[in-house]
């Protein structure tokens, strides 16, 4: 917890330094492209962030504003940055959860199959698929999936989160969002699925070689029971660790995927704020994403102790 707080403060300081290092005065950076026109607003900004004061006072007032969750205004939308971020958060969380879920599930399945048939055609095929997926840019797979499933076949929508102008509710609404979710999930998860497949394969093979698996077989347990009850559970630990490691990277990937599919999430917001030179919003997204990484890692630690009771928290 403590460590996480220090990290957040450090990133806030880093953001502050970026605002000062950027070309143009800090007021210009904070105000974005719309700022220069309005002297009253510039004055308000200068006062709020103490930009006419010495450096350390500025830094302190910046951090104080951050601590109160006062990340400033997005002057383009004339809304507090926090409001904008929170409005986009659910879409990103949905996409990330669905992508991590899909990557984890398919990676696990493919990894298990690969390990069971090691050296045979199925293993070679899966390994090659993982190899290609690991080298494919997410935006490219996104565009190709749109070409195939939206343009050529017309099966799935190519952009947005729901059908525009429809007033679906309840189950129909969820199905509609689900249909829009399939392609973005596929493109975002492909890369991570490749990682999980290889990880699962390697860790299954490793656990297969251990003595207790041999003794489980010697006791006459069926192959399926050995695989799922004895091998899989222990092979899962590195997979869970990996999710914690990858969250930051998935957040980065969501910028690209959300841009390709017009998905109204945080990543798309980051892309839009780059286009509008709304740096205050952009830096707030950076800070917020880092907080999400820290929180996810705390959750992963907890899951870890549940999966393996031998690991106790705070002990090394």
């Amino acid at each position: 917890m403590w460590q996480g707080a220090i990290t957040i403060v450090a990133i806030a300081i880093f953001n502050f330094c970026l605002i000062h290092m950027a070309p143009g005065s800090p007021v210009d950076v904070l105000a974005g492209e719309s700022g220069t026109a309005d002297p009253a607003m510039m004055e308000e900004l200068t006062r709020r962030f103490n930009l006419d004061q010495p450096f350390h006072v500025q830094l302190f007032s910046y951090l104080w504003n951050m601590a109160q969750l006062n990340l400033g205004q997005s002057y383009r939308d004339n809304q507090p940055v926090v409001t904008l971020i929170l409005a986009r958060l659910p879409a990103t969380l949905l996409l990330m959860a669905s992508a991590i879920g899909a990557a984890f599930l398919f990676g696990l399945l493919l990894g298990v199959v690969s390990a069971r048939f090691v050296g045979r055609a199925a293993d070679e095929g899966i390994s090659f698929f993982a190899l290609v997926s690991y080298a494919t840019p997410t935006f490219w797979s996104g565009l190709m999936l749109i070409t195939l499933f939206s343009v050529k076949l017309g099966w799935l929508p190519s952009s947005g989160m729901m059908t525009i102008g429809s007033d679906k509710t309840g189950l129909a609404f969820m199905l509609d969002v689900g249909r829009h979710l399939i392609l973005p999930t596929l493109s975002l998860s492909l890369f991570y699925m490749a990682i999980y497949t290889r990880l699962m394969r390697a860790s299954m093979l490793e656990v297969y070689g251990l003595d207790y698996v041999r003794s489980a077989r010697a006791r006459g347990l069926s192959e399926a029971r050995v695989a799922f009850r004895h091998v899989l559970r222990n092979a899962l630990l590195p997979m869970v660790t990996m999710v914690g490691v990858q969250v930051g990277s998935i957040l980065g990937g969501s910028v690209v995927v959300e841009t390709v599919y017009g998905w109204p999430g945080l990543g798309r917001l980051a892309f839009e704020s780059v286009g509008r030179r709304d740096y205050n919003l952009l830096l707030a997204i950076l800070l917020f994403s880092s907080v999400m990484v820290i929180v996810t890692n705390l959750v992963v630690d907890i899951i870890y102790t549940l999966l393996d009771p031998r690991i106790e928290h705070g002990k090394k």
């Binding site: 840019p137 935006f139 565009l143």
Partner: protein
């Protein structure tokens, strides 16, 4: 030289690693001979716009909306990808090795501070950090290289630190200290060369991910506006995806081949340089 031959013997035992090295060599040759394969500026209009691949002799990959030769773009784009990929990796290695070596060799307080710093950088989603840096400091090739290296050095630092921690206790290093060798000399001539194997392995994969990062930046419109990169081509082609998807498909395949080759080389290096892991 004998070491190199021995290394090659170990390396070539993996079929896929050899395939990766050959493909990478091919990409290098294309980059080197770009001016010979397709002379002229890839930004110039070369033929009728929107030609499909194979539709007209002389344009095997077709042309884009403005009649630019896609083959020329792919060929010249290989230079951009390789140059940015390798430059960013070199810079990240320099940063990571320096920080990791200092942390690992001196240990104690220095180590604590440097590793805490490394963890903080690692917490920030790296692609977002790259995006922020390039957006704020303007998208030029140099800034892109700096942004990628600033965001990707932490794994190198941790790797080198771990190597240094174990190496500095070994007898040959202790012997150097007793002999009165200076610290910089011990670090540079004794410990560093012995800690480089894992760095070599990771570097190949880092080039691959730097290439992917550059392509994503260019796709988002944050590439260097003066150079034709594969990501830029995909970004241009995206606008006519419905009618001319080959404009997106072809540069993408170039990215996949290059990145895959680099990853395979990384695996091959890992197997050849880490005898303990061999056969996995």
């Amino acid at each position: 030289m004998g070491g190199l031959i021995g290394f090659w013997r170990l390396y070539r035992r993996r079929r896929m690693a050899v395939a990766g090295a050959s493909a990478l060599l091919g990409v290098f040759l294309v980059a080197l001979l770009a001016a010979v394969i397709s002379p002229g500026d890839p930004w110039d209009m070369a033929g009728r716009p929107l030609l499909w691949p194979g539709q007209e002799v002389g344009f095997p990959f077709g042309t884009d909306v403005l009649g630019r030769d896609i083959l020329a773009g792919v060929v010249h784009g290989s230079r951009v990808s390789l140059a940015i990929g390798f430059a960013a990796t070199m810079a990240a290695l320099l940063l990571g090795v320096t920080i990791g070596a200092i942390a690992g060799y001196f240990g104690g307080y220095v180590d604590d501070v440097l590793m805490r710093f490394t963890e903080i950088v690692q917490t920030i989603p790296s692609f977002l950090l790259i995006l922020v840096l390039v957006a704020i400091f303007s998208p030029s090739a140099v800034n892109i290289v700096i942004a990628i290296s600033v965001s990707t050095w932490p794994p190198v630092a941790r790797l080198v630190r771990a190597e240094f921690l174990s190496l500095r206790e070994r007898e040959f290093v202790q012997a150097c200290i007793v002999l009165g060798m200076s610290r910089p000399r011990i670090i540079l001539t004794q410990v560093l060369p012995n800690s480089l194997a894992p760095v070599v392995v990771i570097s190949s994969v880092m080039v691959a991910s730097a290439i992917l990062n550059e392509a994503s930046l260019a796709f988002l419109g944050l590439g260097d506006p003066n150079i034709m990169s594969w990501g830029t081509m995909i970004s241009i082609g995206r606008n006519s995806l419905r009618t001319a998807w080959y404009m997106v498909a072809i540069p993408g395949i170039a990215i996949i081949i290059t990145v895959m080759a680099l990853n395979l080389v990384g695996e091959g290096l890992n197997d050849a340089l880490n005898p303990r892991l061999r056969g996995r």
